[in-house]
Symmetry: C2
Subunit: 207 residues, 2 copies
């Protein structure tokens, strides 16, 4: 640079960063993200169906990922307990993380009881229109209680667990879920296939 050359106005211009827009990202990857928010009673099959959907999507080379108690309660939310405020914070953080995954064009599945409409509505409000897909895992309480994979219903009936969803605390069923999965008498594969079909019909899967 000669002495007559004016100094650059600002080196900041060169170094200013431009974020990739959602459309640019979707076009680059040939994929859109969304959040499949699985909600239902304990033992209803949320994680099981979520994991099976994930497998079916990965088989199609679609980026899918399940966020559930297995990978959140011991990690991100390890500092949270089970009181009302911590439960709400638990769902809030999961919603924020699911939002980031969805922005990254991942087909994101979450599997939490999330019994309160207001908590689910708050997550819906975080996301752009169409990106929050409420999936009601509708399994009758009798079936959930008969399965009782972790023995929690037994403890709840014995009064050893307070405020157990479906027994001593309410489950507020979705009023207009995008997917209403009635699981009684059906196989996991059948339920999972219904979710994948919905995603295909909505254009979330490339051919």
């Amino acid at each position: 640079m000669g002495p007559q050359t004016p100094a650059p106005r600002s080196q900041n211009i060169v170094w200013h960063h431009a974020n990739v827009s959602p459309d640019e990202r979707a076009a680059a990857l040939g994929a859109r993200g969304c959040v499949l928010w699985l909600t239902g009673l304990s033992g209803s099959g949320k994680s099981t169906i979520g994991r099976r959907v994930e497998q079916l999507l990965l088989d199609r080379r679609a980026h899918a990922f399940v966020i559930d108690g297995d990978n959140v309660r011991h990690g991100l939310n390890r500092d949270l307990g089970f009181g009302p405020a911590d439960r709400t914070e638990n769902i809030r953080r999961i919603g924020e993380v699911a939002k980031l995954f969805s922005e990254a064009c991942v087909l994101t599945l979450t599997a939490f009881i999330s019994p309160y409409r207001s908590d689910r509505a708050a997550v819906r409000a975080l996301l752009p229109p169409g990106a929050f897909v409420e999936v009601f895992i509708d399994t009758p309480l009798e079936i959930c209680e008969a399965r009782d994979p972790k023995g929690l219903y037994q403890k709840a009936r014995a009064g050893e667990i307070a405020e157990f969803t479906g027994i001593s605390a309410p489950y507020e069923a979705p009023e207009a879920p995008e997917i209403h999965l009635r699981t009684a008498g059906r196989t996991v594969d059948d339920c999972a296939a219904e979710v994948v079909s919905w995603l295909a019909a909505q254009g979330f899967l490339s051919a």
Copy 2:
């Protein structure tokens, strides 16, 4: 089912879920994830370089995503302030989220000052061997301060910001970063290309 047929031992067997293993996921997607942890002074170019790397990776159809202040401080970590405990919690949560992204086979970039070795070591410890890639954005303080894109150095020099990294609080430079990016006199593209080359050399990018 006839009356002689024994009842199924447990419906739980059918409904038990198997998580996809990291190897199965990587094979299905033809991609491995990792966390590129960009660390450096305020104004060193972390977000700018991170976003450029992301763009280069997306151009190759590789799933990449930047986690930085833009999408975390107003979302997941909106409840956190800037005191010491909250700063550590900020980095902890980002580490946990980055871990989830990496597990999802996303090439994950984070862009936070993260001045303390102990905080960065804690994130490294969360991840499997080889998945934490420390990227030292090594930009001399004079350059960062001359850029001062947010006017923060000026405020720190005026005593309006307490404990500002590099001025009145320490920056503990990485001792053995996987990538040591000396940015002085170089363009953003040049710096970003070095990171992409490293990823290619390490087998993170398909041909």
